[in-house]
Symmetry: C2
Subunit: 469 residues, 2 copies
């Protein structure tokens, strides 16, 4: 963390705990330089960052004051999918957007990953180096699927934080969550089956459905509270749904978080009909609140929930270590894994195992979440101040995505292309449904290492949006 | 390599180059101790190893002499598959046999991997450590499928040894060859399609067919020269074959090597009918002859051959790095890879890239092949001397598998179980066809680090076979 970010963090803490109440004047730049031993540009950057987050306001010729009220951006509309079964054909656009991740000249607001410099890659490399130099050669061939027993034990310990237990024998280690989700879908469906997904939906789910020749039906999904369980119940009455693929925690792209009561009734509804739930929970560790949200899996008494997650978005991008707690399907998933790619990479398993054993993951997560939450405030402030009137966005309680609903006259694809020409990427709403319905929506990634670069990119997006109204 | 193995290797070289002609007496143990500066037990072990390989013979009260003729074991029968289309259902047995790899108490003659201590795991770990400590964080997220460009360039250089070029843009890096083969099969077939396979067939191919709901038709395959192209042509006349999955080089389990002329006519035959060939070439680097055998891909002018290989059997087990040179299907494969598991693990790609750049792979391969070839001689000698009369086995010109045809009265499954109870694993022939036809056959893995342990395990298998005749 840079010095100005540290300073801004300290001041934000003082505002949060009331030491600096609304309307209070911040110390002058000169005072702060003297008391902190920093130079004026550091203080200016810190104050500027706090202003961008909406925590302080500058008054001309007077100084900086604690803001008296947060700027609020209205929530996006509740989704209203067609209610019909759909064939899935993944748009060329998904591959184009993913390809932009290779272009370092772009501000990566369209990326699916946080800035990789936010991760403890050096510590992981050291753990890997240590583990691989002392590796018993037989470990390279004897632990095929379901993966290292010791790593599965470490993963099962992570579940205890949400006060429910997963037996490590239920876990299968995979090449990231993407493989976990795909294997799960393979074992609970046959070609032609109908699968319920959220609206909007993570495009990776649509790709998986297409790959397996499955059909989709979209469920109304609230931007704050996620899947509408009553609407799902009505769909199940009328359609032969064979499986659900949902993200109850910090849904991609909405950021929605299903309340515990909804999760519980979702699991009960599906259990009555013996429909498996594939639960994508890759952002669950990135909660901003006091408590880690429980997965729907916590209410599963019948082994019908296949809970998928990974370390790719929280700790170790590129290591390709994910897992699924497969319930009654765990043995079938382990065999599918063996048949399709044998096992997860041994060096990656060794690195994560030793890193987790050494401790420090929770400390890293706290620091990462602090930065993401600060960035979210910057992003919301930018949307309030620089986007066209009528723009909506709901602030998620975790993760690093904002779902922005622009005025209906704006074509998000046109905005996306204009922004690319000015070196800012974004993920247009078109990606997030089988019928490309979200035409004036954008998903933006606020997981940047430098909040000022995030701000600059968002201001540009806002300016371009205004030009398109 | 142990000292006695070095000594045995030197003597074997002298026999091969004629310095020690057939019938010549080896120096006495005392002389050798003096001239080499080793102790008597080393010399005894070396002579014993040479005897096991059939290179020397002990004459009582006289000493050791260069053998006058190699013991020959007759070739197994030419396979005669049913010629019918078959549904594929993988036997429980495959999973049981794979599970035995976890039991270190067993002599692993049933394993699919050579002894992992034969690989330069320390050098790989050092390369990985160096590469990961200096890693640019953005490399963890920007190079998704088709994989690191620099690694694909290194892989394309390997093809030059067989005097044909693969453009690195045609290559997709995968989680081992198993994923490469599965992705290839996914892009060239649809559920219900018919796929031609060898007879006997690698069980992994049968598993892949089952996973994708494909049907199999088996092609007669010669234990020395591989797929019978004329028989295949006849099958193509009568059946709607949509793809072939063959291993022209050192087929698993036969060890057969298709002559260049057969490969060429195979590729021409399939091109006429526009049928894709999935070529599994994971053992091609393990040739014992002077020249690396060319893959069928070398004759492909239409982009119809999907050439799959990996480093898992030759250099880096557990790193899970394979690839496919996908011809006209390369873009579709790269997208499938992206959809199903995003990318190969970054630490594994980094390690192999730096290892290959540093050089040393060919030196390692020479040493590995020398040991495998020596072990093969040990194994053949054991079969000639300790197995029931009528046992057949064809010595492959590469790889580390022997396909043993026992007298028809022996049930290989019974032998397999008996041997397990005495701590020797094996792969019964039942695994290698959809109709479990090879009931008196065994595949044994001679890729052991210690040839004397290999000999002991084979002697036990021989003794048990004799008891079952």
């Amino acid at each position: 963390m840079k010095r100005y970010e540290q300073l801004a963090g300290n001041i934000a803490d003082s505002i949060a705990n009331g030491t600096l109440p609304p309307g209070a004047k911040l110390p002058s730049v000169r005072q702060t330089c003297a008391s902190r031993g920093v130079n004026p540009s550091t203080v200016f950057q810190a104050y500027y960052l706090l202003e961008a987050r909406g925590l302080v306001q500058a008054r001309p010729r007077s100084g900086y004051y604690v803001a008296t009220g947060a700027t609020s951006v209205p929530e996006p509309d509740y989704s209203r999918p067609s209610g019909e079964q759909q064939d899935v054909e993944v748009s060329e656009l998904v591959f184009q957007v993913l390809a932009h991740m290779r272009d370092r000249e772009l501000a990566p607001l369209g990326s699916a990953f946080p800035d990789p410099s936010l991760f403890p890659l050096q510590r992981l490399a050291m753990a890997q180096s240590k583990a691989m130099r002392r590796l018993d050669p037989w470990r390279t061939v004897e632990h095929l699927s379901p993966g290292y027993p010791e790593l599965r034990r470490q993963i099962s310990l992570r579940y205890l934080a949400t006060a429910f237990a997963i037996d490590s024998t239920e876990l299968v280690v995979t090449n990231g969550a993407m493989e976990a989700l795909n294997l799960s879908l393979e074992v609970v469906t046959r070609p032609g089956d109908l699968v319920a997904v959220e609206s909007p939906t993570f495009y990776g789910a649509l790709q998986a459905l297409e790959r397996l020749n499955l059909r989709a039906i979209e469920v109304p999904t609230h931007p704050r509270t996620g899947v509408d369980v009553a609407a799902l119940a009505a769909i199940l009455e009328r359609h032969p749904v064979k499986a659900c693929w949902f993200m109850p925690n910090f849904q991609n792209p909405l950021g929605s978080l299903m309340p515990d009561a909804s999760k519980e009734s979702l699991v009960r509804l599906l259990a009555e009909r013996q429909i498996p739930l594939i639960e994508d929970d890759v952002y669950g560790e990135l909660y901003f609140g006091m408590h880690k949200p429980r997965p729907a899996k916590a209410w599963d008494t019948q082994g019908l929930v296949l809970h998928c997650s990974s370390f790719s978005k929280t700790l170790a991008p590129g290591y390709r270590i994910g897992w699924v707690a497969g319930g009654r399907f765990a043995p079938a998933i382990a065999r599918r894994k063996l048949m399709s790619s044998l096992t997860a990479a041994v060096p990656s398993q060794e690195a994560l195992l030793l890193y987790l054993e050494q401790g420090g993951y929770d400390r890293h997560l706290r620091s990462l979440k602090g930065r993401l939450q600060g960035n979210q405030a910057v992003a919301l402030r930018c949307i309030a101040n620089h986007f066209p009137a009528g723009t909506r966005a709901s602030p998620p309680e975790g993760g690093y995505f904002l779902w922005i609903e622009l005025p209906a006259s704006i074509d998000a694809l046109e905005l996306h292309r204009l922004a690319l020409s000015q070196r800012v990427s974004s993920a247009p709403g078109h990606l997030f449904s089988a019928d490309h319905r979200f035409k004036h929506h954008l998903r933006i990634n606020f997981g940047q290492a430098d909040p000022l670069e995030l701000e600059a990119a968002l201001k540009l997006l806002g300016r371009l949006s205004v030009s398109l109204v």
